[in-house]
């Protein structure tokens, strides 16, 4: 079965080609059938591969399709990696991807057929790139997918290209990603010079025994790539702006899959990170800082999608914290559960926006509970899951990361819990302002409120079920003997790292229970506070002051980037442009003018008078003689 692995990315590629090339001829229903059907086919193949991988006695395989680059000693083949990690990611991508495709077919029904087909073509291309990223058996193939998702996110964020702000957001995402990609690319180059290969098998086998300094350099560069792709400080600002795209796109790209590319990459190269403690510390601290920072911004946002976007950034921070403290399984677990509930939340938000006729400001919502029952229930479950209420999925994954952080340093744990509390607060602020209380929108909007069609609610229900029960594959040891099936499943992937890591400190069971349920209890209290406070929310015109205002303006980070980086850069560019115009062009044109001028002067020599020619000839002869006879000495 794993020989057929190439089918998984092939289907979306075919879908992309058909939809992209035939966009003027295909009807909307055909487009959505092709778009969703190809992903469904991939999902089925992925499922079969997953069961094969899961079966005992499976050994990781590399399926080589053809030689991609073959230069001197460097040989890069177009090969796919089939093992536990990639199979799991295949399931997440194609599964969640399929649901989002299904949802999109209803959500985007207002578009004209060619644009509808364009949308699905991009979406399929995106899934293809993501699959390539996850399946690649070396860093170059991974990089191809890496670039592909960057491109697709640019295309999809700027999907409504008639709006200039959206185009700017798309460009911002692209540029930010490029900065990260540069780091990734440099990391690959260094890797090639160090190991002479980018194959996972070669690199990971050679990592042990490589000087730590070099390993630190490579991993830091790779991490720069992860920063860009997974929206970590300082390259996170593109993600909130990326909400310009259609909401399902936000769900697919900016919540469930693309942003997890960085997590996947680090989890994949876990041994290299384990061997360089400096990078691990950097990863952990960056992740933690991002988690807190983004959560604090999310507290005061009023755009339903912006809140979710910052929440995504914050959750990604948790994943990096997990990676940084060596809880690779926990990070991957969180990727998975996060994919479920964040896709759910985004799609729920999409349903709300759809019902509200593209109103995104939660101050104008409220009381949607009775109008959108299915959306309301599923959204609530998603909020509970992300807040970490047992026994929903978010509880287990977040708990695992926090426990690992505590083992590393209690400070990490305290800050992590602080972030979790903020998460609970802003999620329930969002929930309460949207669904509870009285409707605050216009009368017209209220009149048109309606539940979304089945194609939109079915994915919501499926994702809600996954969010609720998805956590049970990773129940901690304390609660259930052998409950952490995911850890057992992923163990071969992280075996090398596990062997390298220092002996594990074990917490006492009492301590673990206390942490687990203590935190859950505090979160519950926070939820109740938020619920009470914001279900009675009234529109005010009062401006926020102090810290609130700073948070509302996202810590002024965009403004800071603008003044510190963009403006000097622009100034420098215009200086260079002037320099180019005046100095460089001056030299170039000056040479031309000099030649013209001197030619014009030299023309007088060509008088046409033979006498003057002879005179010059004689003079030249004299000079030659002088040089010949008297210069030599």
């Amino acid at each position: 079965m794993s020989k057929l692995i190439y089918l998984v990315p092939l289907f979306p590629l075919l879908g992309f080609l058909i939809n992209g090339l035939g966009r003027k001829y295909l009807s909307k229903s055909l487009v959505s059938i092709i778009g969703s059907g190809t992903i469904l086919a991939s999902f089925i193949v992925s499922l079969m591969i997953f069961f094969e991988v899961k079966a005992p006695g499976f050994a990781p395989q590399v399926v080589t399709l053809f030689d991609f680059i073959d230069v001197a000693k460097l040989k890069i083949s177009f090969a796919f990696q089939v093992d536990q990690l990639s199979a799991l990611f295949l399931l997440i991508i194609t599964g969640v991807g399929f649901l989002i495709h299904l949802y999109s077919s209803a959500y985007m029904h207002e578009e004209t057929p060619p644009h509808f087909a364009r949308y699905f073509a991009y979406l399929n291309l995106f899934v293809f790139s993501m699959l390539l990223l996850v399946l690649g058996a070396n860093f170059v193939i991974m990089f191809m997918g890496w670039e592909g998702v960057g491109l697709c996110s640019y295309l999809l964020i700027g999907y409504w290209f008639k709006n200039d702000d959206y185009n700017k957001a798309a460009k911002k995402a692209f540029v930010m990603n490029r900065i990260g990609d540069l780091g990734f690319l440099l990391g690959i180059f260094w890797m090639i010079s160090q190991f002479g290969s980018t194959d996972f098998s070669v690199v990971f086998a050679g990592a042990d025994g490589t000087p730590v300094k070099i390993l630190t350099g490579i991993t830091l560069l790779l991490f720069v790539g992860a920063m860009g792709k997974s929206a970590q400080i300082p390259l996170y600002t593109w993600l909130p702006d990326a909400m310009a795209g259609p909401t399902p796109v936000s769900a697919l790209i900016h919540a469930a899959t693309m942003v997890t590319a960085g997590i996947y990459m680090i989890a994949r190269s876990n041994i290299m990170y384990t061997l360089s403690p400096v990078t691990q510390a950097v990863v952990a601290i960056t992740g933690l800082a991002t988690a807190l920072f983004a959560a604090s911004i999310a507290l005061k946002q009023n755009d339903i999608k912006k809140v979710l976007a910052y929440s995504t950034v914050s959750q990604l921070g948790y994943m990096f914290l997990g990676l940084g403290v060596g809880a690779y399984t926990g990070a991957v677990f969180h990727v998975m559960t996060h994919a479920f509930f964040k896709a759910l939340l985004f799609l729920g938000a999409g349903s709300v926006i759809h019902a509200m006729h593209h109103e995104q400001d939660i101050r104008n919502m409220g009381g949607l509970k009775k109008h959108l029952p299915i959306t309301h229930i599923t959204f609530l479950l998603g909020c509970l899951a992300i807040a970490g209420i047992p026994p929903l999925s978010g509880f287990f994954s977040k708990d695992e990361i926090l426990t690992a952080a505590f083992l590393k340093s209690p400070v990490f744990w305290v800050l992590g819990v602080l972030g979790a509390l903020m998460t609970a607060f802003y999620m329930f602020r969002l929930y309460a302002m949207t669904f509870l209380g009285k409707f605050r929108g216009t009368h017209d909007q209220e009149h048109h409120l309606h539940e979304s069609p089945a194609a939109m609610t079915i994915p919501l229900v499926v994702l809600a079920l996954l969010s609720v029960f998805g956590g049970f594959i990773g129940v901690p040891e304390v609660l259930m003997k052998n409950g952490h099936q995911l850890e057992n499943y992923l163990a071969p992937v992280f075996a090398q790292s596990t062997a390298k890591m220092h002996e594990e400190h074990h917490l006492s069971h009492v301590m673990e229970y206390m942490m687990m349920f203590g935190v859950a209890a505090i979160i519950l209290v926070i939820i109740i506070i938020a619920w009470n406070k914001f279900s009675r929310y009234q529109k005010t015109t009062a401006e926020a002051t102090g810290l609130g205002r700073v948070l509302e303006n996202k810590w002024y980070v965009d403004e800071i980037y603008d003044t510190v980086i963009s403006r000097p850069l622009l100034g420098f560019s215009s200086f260079l442009s002037k320099f180019d115009k005046i100095f460089i062009d001056g030299i170039v044109n000056g040479v031309g003018r000099l030649v013209q001028y001197s030619s014009r002067q030299l023309r007088w020599i060509q008088s046409g008078q033979v006498g003057s020619y002879i005179l010059i000839m004689v003079t030249a002869t004299i000079l030659l003689f002088i040089i010949q006879f008297f210069w030599k000495s």
């Binding site: 006498g611 004299i622 003689f625 002088i626």
Partner: protein, 166 residues
Amino acid sequence: MNITEILFWFLTALAILSALMVVFSRNPVHSVLWLILVFFAISGHYIMLNAQFLAIVNLIVYAGAIMVLFLFVIMLMNMNSDSEPQKNKWLKMAGTVAGGSLLLILVAALKNSEVQYQKVEGAQGTIGLIHNLGKTLFTDYVVPFEISSVLFLSAMVGAVVIGKKD
């Protein structure tokens, strides 16, 4: 100073002075006459070098034929010192200076040449006699000799074609 040297210096002085007169006399007819004198002096040098054949040819061809042709042309155009075009002073000066410095430079360059003390004895040898040259000309150099006749023919045709009134 024997008679050979006296003759050598006399002919040399005559050649150089006449050459100068060729350049500096204003009347073209005088120039031609001075040039004929130069050729006579040069023929005298040939005789001194025992190159009798060349001396005679020089007189016949140059002094006789060519210079007469010149003379004819000049008279045909009715030139005299009044119709003579004059260059401006500075150009003349420049030309003179250029020629003079070429002379200087050549003399300075060849002053210490390695052959400078080799002798040229005029009276010896028979290579310049018509007997020897004729034999060489009609054996080894017979092809160039014949080709030169073609050259003459084409020169004649050319002169006729150019000179023809159209």
